[in-house]
């Protein structure tokens, strides 16, 4: 069987998950504790960026394989093509958030408040990049470019199926598009991560942040690929995807979990060691107010893949792979939660505003050094709040909704083309893949 039909249980489950998501988002809107619906918008931002990034990473990996002449994954590249079909939906969601920011329907970003920016020397210095115009047009142009590349490559891949005999002209065209996408993705994804995620903590910045977030996306993408392939194999499809391919995906999950830890730790240790007020605020706040998630996130995302997948045989067994994939996927979702929620909560509670005037005075007197730290850690009283301090049921529901949509789009795209791209020049290599 070389054709997937999307029907029955899979369709019911994904549609059910989407309904759960819509209900959760509506409930979040109506139980919203503040006028600007920060809980709703931050959940939207959290899942919107998370799943868009996963989809973009799936496409990125196709382009990496093509550019690097890597043939091992050619047999199931349609799975990644199908995942990248979600980019369009992620794009639409991010436009909604960008419009909401532009028209001040939400208050996720301190920098979106022109009055606060005028009084705040740090935000004033960043306003060339952190402003609603750039946010909206950056999202439109950059993510629009990703979507266009994704659609072009998918079209080329489908057209290649129609080729008679061995004419690799389409593959050569794909190689050009892939090579062009890599630098675009490399720089633009970092810019979007700064805009969407890092600027939630408007005063703070870190050069490693974009890497850390992008690797989170990548690891989550590998988790979903493993789970989807296991599902498809359980349906009797993709018999050509063997233990050898799963082994390699397991290696990617193992290696990039370690890479994620490396990024996480490098960012943490440099800031901890330098101990500069405007930098430490970010981690101090998370360590004091979110200590359980802060340490659990690191432990789960590092120790479980590291110790479970270290052995050869656990990477070759579907059970252990699926176990790690599920846990690490949730772990990285929580990682994004920790990137977004603390900053949103501070902005919502207006601590940034209240301190803004004080900042201005201080910044002039003591230099920019002290200013940012105050807004983050000193002004915030310890307060536990479901939906901000830990993910509540509504957050989980929203995630399930987005996951449902992600799989609905992926499986729909997957059912529209043969599962194996028969004219891919690397197909034969992939079929005989041996690790």
């Amino acid at each position: 069987m070389n054709q997937y039909t999307f029907s029955g249980t899979a369709k019911t489950v994904t549609i059910g998950a989407m309904i759960v998501g819509v209900v959760s988002m509506l409930l979040t809107w109506f139980v919203g504790a503040d006028d600007l619906q920060s809980r709703f918008w931050s959940n939207f931002l959290h899942n919107g960026t998370f799943f868009l990034g996963i989809s973009m990473m799936a496409f990125f990996f196709i382009t990496v394989c093509i550019t690097a002449y890597a043939g091992w994954a050619a047999v199931f590249k349609r799975v990644w093509e199908a995942m990248s079909a979600y980019m369009l939906f992620g794009f639409i969601f991010m436009i909604i958030i960008a419009l909401a920011t532009y028209f001040h329907w939400n208050h996720l970003y301190h920098w979106a408040d022109a009055a606060a920016v005028a009084e705040d020397p740090i935000l004033n210095g960043k306003k060339g990049f952190l402003n609603p115009n750039w946010y909206l047009f950056g999202t439109l142009i950059i993510v629009g470019t990703w979507v266009l590349f994704g659609r072009k490559m998918r079209a080329l891949s489908l057209a290649e199926d129609q080729d008679q005999g061995h004419d690799y002209a389409k593959h050569r065209t794909m190689r050009k598009w892939s090579a062009a996408f890599l630098p675009i993705m490399g720089f633009s994804s970092a810019a979007m991560i700064w805009q969407w995620l890092m600027s939630v903590d408007a005063h703070w910045y870190s050069t490693l942040y974009a890497w850390h977030a992008a690797v989170s996306w990548f690891v989550s993408m590998i988790c979903l690929t493993i789970l989807l392939l296991i599902y498809l194999k359980s349906k009797g499809l993709y018999k050509q995807v063997t233990t050898e391919h799963m082994h390699d995906l397991g290696k990617f999950l193992f290696a990039f979990s370690i890479f994620w830890t490396y990024m996480w730790f490098s960012q943490f240790m440099l800031i901890w060691y330098a101990n500069i007020g405007e930098e430490t605020g970010y981690f101090l706040h998370r360590r004091e107010e979110y200590s359980f998630l802060f340490y659990a996130n690191l432990a789960v995302n590092f120790l479980i893949p590291f110790f479970v997948l270290m052995r050869n045989d656990t990477k070759r067994k579907l059970g252990s792979l699926a176990f790690v994939a599920v846990i690490v996927f949730i772990g990285h979702w929580v990682d994004f939660f920790l990137m977004i929620k603390p900053g949103v909560k501070i902005t919502r509670d207006g601590h940034g505003h209240a301190d803004a005037a004080a900042h201005g005075g201080e910044a002039v007197a003591h230099g920019a050094h002290e200013a940012a730290g105050h807004g983050v850690h000193e002004a915030v009283a310890s307060s536990f709040e479901i939906g901000y301090t830990i993910p509540g049921l509504l957050e989980l529901g929203t995630m399930i909704g987005f996951l449902g949509l992600f799989f609905f789009v992926t499986l729909t795209a997957l059912s529209k083309a043969p599962l194996i791209a028969k004219n891919d020049p690397y197909l034969d290599e992939s079929l005989h893949h041996h690790t």
């Binding site: 730790f265 943490f268 240790m269 901890w272 060691y273 101990n275 270290m310 050869n312």
Partner: protein
């Protein structure tokens, strides 16, 4: 090598696919293979030969763990008991600052330990010379060797020439 005064019959093949085919046939004929020598690792040969998985990586894990403990406990002792110094106002026992060195020593111990273990297991080392069957098995020939004490010489010779090998005999 631990073999002494062994009469060895060996065949040299030009290609690894010929070798693989011959190994499979030898297994079917229940000829006791002494060893196989190839210039590079041949994929899929281990399962055909029925070799057990190498335990070198288990040794690597143990060496790595020893490295982790050495670095972490060593630094803990130095910076809290032996010679405590305050660096940049940090606590004496500053775990994040220990991590990079712990990581490096884990890698160092695992690598060096595995190399030494591998050399000992294979009987290699500086100044050690080993007998070998043929110069060209380190270059472009694939060798299938039988010990005459374990197999019937005539049968093995005819088997080797039938499968396309250049047949030789040597005392190791």
């Amino acid at each position: 090598m631990a073999h002494h005064n062994k009469e060895v019959i060996y065949g040299l093949y030009d290609d690894e696919t010929d070798l693989m085919k011959a190994v499979k046939e030898a297994k079917e004929l229940h000829l006791e293979i002494m060893d196989v020598y190839t210039p590079f690792p041949v994929h899929g040969l281990d399962p055909i030969l029925g070799l057990a998985e190498s335990r070198l990586h288990i040794a690597g894990f143990v060496y790595g763990s020893i490295g982790t403990l050495t670095a972490f406990l060593g630094m803990t002792w130095v910076f809290t008991k032996d010679w405590p110094i305050i660096f940049g106002g940090k606590p004496m026992w500053s775990v994040p600052a220990f991590i990079p060195i712990t990581f490096e020593l884990t890698v160092l111990f695992a690598c060096v330990g595995m190399v030494i273990t591998f050399y000992i297991v294979c009987g290699l080392g500086p100044g050690v010379t080993n007998d070998y069957l043929d110069d060209r098995i380190t270059d472009d020939k694939f060798c299938l060797a039988f010990d005459t004490a374990e197999v019937d010489s005539a049968a093995v010779k005819s088997f080797l020439s039938k499968t396309g090998a250049e047949v030789n005999q040597k005392v190791l």
